[in-house]
């Protein structure tokens, strides 16, 4: 069965970005030891930090940093038809709390590195445009610069402490529509307290869907999908089992409080079914009847798309993560057709013609 993996994390080192940076940006890394600071209080959870222990390279380089190893361990062994790269969110230009000039330079360098070392080296791999969204004009320039690359399928926005529905960011969505790019959102910083940290990592990982719910709610009630009718949103790495609740809750609120957001003209659940898709990972262990019940409550089997999250510790196996004995038609949708429908550029197989 063909398989489109909607969340693969390739990793860059700052050193690898140097050839793609002009001065003075380069010297801030070489001379001033620039790196994007995080405030992680805990070691990340599993045997090898944030990564699968068996995904670290034999020579010690971090997981996700070598195409050959990724091909062997992931793409070839699972028979991937396509894989969509989402970066390691380090650096994460849209999460920088200032110095947007540096963030913009890093985003451009990252995109050039991604195109040269991944997208143009393996026909199966597709990419995400990295931008510094805090400066929408500069972000639009970057989308104009690389957005027409035939293998760039989405613009990546991290789930951090910004809600992306605000009209301030709408120029980015306008540029996305123009270049047939979708929006991909991936959580980055801790999902609770927005900008603060839970006491334990286990809280963070449990509550990832809540940060996704914030974004979906904000985007829909901000009228993003009314204003940009061809725009679609892939919610990456939050799972999908929360979606039936959110649909029902939003529809109820809309029924009662529509007057506050008169630019919203459809039931939120309809907008979700038409404009959103949700990657599967990290999956809870579900029985078949439980999965089917969730899909029934979503009112669609076309808005879920399988993802592995390779090479991270909470990787989901395409063979083992979903319950066994699913109907072939459903498996085809989950493993490839839904992603193929979602990303129009996948239809073209990376070709620029036609």
């Amino acid at each position: 069965m063909s398989f489109i993996d909607t969340d693969i994390h390739e990793r860059v080192s700052y050193e690898q970005l140097l050839p793609y940076l002009e001065q003075p940006w380069r010297r801030y890394i070489t001379d001033c030891h620039w790196m994007q600071e995080k405030h992680m209080p805990y070691t990340q959870p599993a045997v090898a930090g944030v990564d699968r222990a068996d995904a670290r390279l034999p020579d010690g380089r971090p997981a996700g940093s070598d195409l050959g190893f990724m091909q062997e361990q992931l793409l070839d062994s699972n028979g991937h038809e396509y894989g969509i790269l989402t970066g390691a969110l380090d650096p994460s230009p849209s999460s920088m709390h200032g110095w947007y000039e540096m963030a913009t330079a890093l985003a451009s360098a990252y995109n050039d590195w991604q195109i040269e070392h991944w997208l143009e080296k393996d026909s199966r791999l597709y990419g995400s445009v990295h931008i510094a969204a805090q400066d929408p004009a500069a972000a639009v320039q970057e989308i104009e610069r690389v957005g027409d690359h035939p293998k760039m399928v989405q613009i990546l926005l991290p789930i951090d402490d910004i809600l992306w529905g605000d009209p301030f960011y709408h120029p980015i969505y306008e540029a996305a529509e123009k270049h047939q790019l979708m929006i991909g959102m991936h959580h980055n910083e801790p999902p609770i307290y927005y900008g603060k940290w839970p006491r334990y990592f286990i809280e963070w990982h449990t509550l990832i869907p809540t940060s996704h719910m914030n974004q979906v709610t904000n985007m829909i009630f901000s009228g993003v999908f009314e204003k940009f009718p061809r725009l679609k949103l892939m919610m990456i790495e939050g799972g999908f089992t929360y979606v039936p609740f959110l649909m029902r809750k939003m529809d109820q609120q809309y029924t009662d409080l529509r007057h506050e957001v008169p630019w919203v003209k459809r039931m939120p659940s309809d907008t979700i079914r038409e404009h959103l898709c949700f990657t599967t990972q990290p999956l809870e262990e579900l029985k078949k009847w439980e999965l089917m019940q969730i899909i029934e409550q979503m009112g669609s089997d076309q808005i879920i798309s399988f993802s592995t999250d390779y090479p991270h510790w909470d990787y989901d196996s395409p063979e083992r993560a979903l319950p066994p004995r699913l109907d072939e038609d459903l498996k085809r949708k989950l493993f490839s057709e839904n992603a193929r429908q979602f990303y129009p550029k996948l239809h073209k197989g990376g070709r620029t013609d036609g």
């Binding site: 045997v47 068996d54 909470d314 990787y315 196996s317």
Partner: protein, 123 residues
């Protein structure tokens, strides 16, 4: 059937290795007391290769919030993917859910000399 899968001096206490038995991948673990244990090399969750994980210890359950008592060094097998913990001295039982166990293989050590011997798996 029985088969020699490793030698005792292949592993120090707290180490593990992959081996093949009956056409399947198994993981041979040497516990901190020097004893050997063998399990299927597939995590029952999603099939990760356990031999790529870690033999370590684990904090035992505590009644005090914020208290960590790290015990069992070398006896807890943690999966290389999702980090699930299995106690090799307790039939491969999972720490978080005692209803789940790894499949354990019968094993014996045939002494060849004072220094080393053959580790034999039985079915």
């Amino acid at each position: 059937m029985d088969k020699v899968v490793a030698h005792t001096d292949d592993l120090a206490p707290g180490e593990m290795m992959e081996a093949e038995f009956d056409g399947r991948s198994v993981v041979i673990c040497r516990a901190s007391d020097g004893d050997f244990h063998a399990f299927t090399n597939l995590c029952p969750h999603q099939g990760a290769p356990l031999s790529k994980g870690k033999l370590c210890g684990a904090p035992e359950p505590t009644d005090e919030i914020g208290t960590y008592n790290y015990k069992n060094e070398g006896n807890i097998l943690r999966c290389p993917w999702h980090g699930r913990e299995f106690n090799i001295k307790d039939s491969g039982r999972m720490l978080a859910n005692e209803r789940q166990k790894l499949r354990e293989y019968k094993l014996s050590v045939e002494e060849l000399s004072v220094a080393d011997g053959n580790i034999i798996l039985y079915k």
